[in-house]
Symmetry: C2
Subunit: 202 residues, 2 copies
């Protein structure tokens, strides 16, 4: 991991998306197009890509396939990543079926719950498993990232279990912050924050 | 709406959250505490609040209740906001039940679908209505923001209908961008972007 700024890291997926969605394997992509995709100006783009050590050609742009590969490598998604979803309620089920994940390189390798009425049922083509099986699945390398889709009251305990099993990357949808060791990366997806920001602009 | 930077606007909900969750009505809050909540440094905080025209007291901090009210006013959430959810599948149902919305001042006023098997059923205590009823509900002021929780293939058409009915704020969870007039604010929640950013840090 290099020392990119948080803002730069947050823009890389947007650059990547533009290239994946619009550019052929031999195309060039301009800093203006990348800027529009990320909602910044072209100078920001040039600085971000310079921080990646990636050079363009003045007046021509950047090689789209080379930039795509460079960003994927930087983000650690050259290979597809395997994700476990914890919580097979509405949100967990929605996430398991969310086509955007597979399209962007993430495979749902497992989905867990503690409710015996849910365990054994299918979500898409993944069978809901007992959360008690999570540590052993994890130790066999079934997945290395986890999505928390559990109630707020369960989030910390489930997070502790995931960290205990060796998971170092957690995306938390529960409307509460979880505390993890410094070695673990957590991102909090707070839907009300999105609505509040939207409220400013709308 | 003042001319705050996008980054400042995105931090306001985090400052607000800290105050709502931890400060009593008469407390002071320090720029260091606000900085930690938003993941920036104290100089950023001071600049953000200065851009809001909000002054603190050196060595003491900011008045928490006054700052809370100022941020709420800036974000346009002094009063509770009424939100419609379009799409009563797993994601829409999860959002309708998401306790974080109500906690942060958003009420789910309506949930719509086009599937006759779903229409009339309850999600929490909100009855799923036929999407055909949306324009008339909207004209009666039932809600003024909408959340898109529909498949990618339906997102643009539903967005067009919402804009046609007068909605000016849309939060889009469909894994596809929608095109709207300049007068309409859209935020795209892309779950795979969150996983990609997490992948960098994890």
């Amino acid at each position: 991991m290099s020392g990119l700024s948080r803002a730069t890291v947050a823009r890389l997926p947007r650059y990547l998306r533009l290239i994946e969605d619009t550019n052929g394997a031999n195309d060039m992509v301009s800093s203006d197009a990348l800027a529009a995709a990320a909602g910044v100006n072209a100078a920001n783009v040039r600085r971000d890509l310079s921080d990646l050590g990636f050079q363009g050609t003045r007046g021509v742009g950047y090689s789209a396939p080379a930039l795509r590969d460079r960003i994927r490598r930087e983000l650690g998604i050259e290979q597809r990543r395997k994700v476990a979803i914890v919580g097979a309620g509405n949100l967990g089920s929605a996430l398991a079926r969310y086509s955007g994940l597979s399209k962007r390189g993430f495979d749902v390798a497992a989905i867990y719950d503690i409710d015996s009425d849910r365990i054994g049922k299918l979500v898409g083509d993944v069978k809901i498993q007992d959360f008690d099986e999570m540590p052993s699945d994890c130790s066999f390398g079934c997945f290395d990232m986890a999505i928390l889709a559990v109630p707020a009251t369960a989030a910390q305990s489930v997070s502790d279990d995931l960290v205990g099993a060796g998971i170092a990357s957690i995306l938390n949808f529960a409307p509460v912050r979880v505390t993890v060791p410094d070695s673990v990366a957590v991102r909090q997806v707070d839907l009300s924050t999105e609505l509040q920001i939207l409220s400013y602009y709308g």
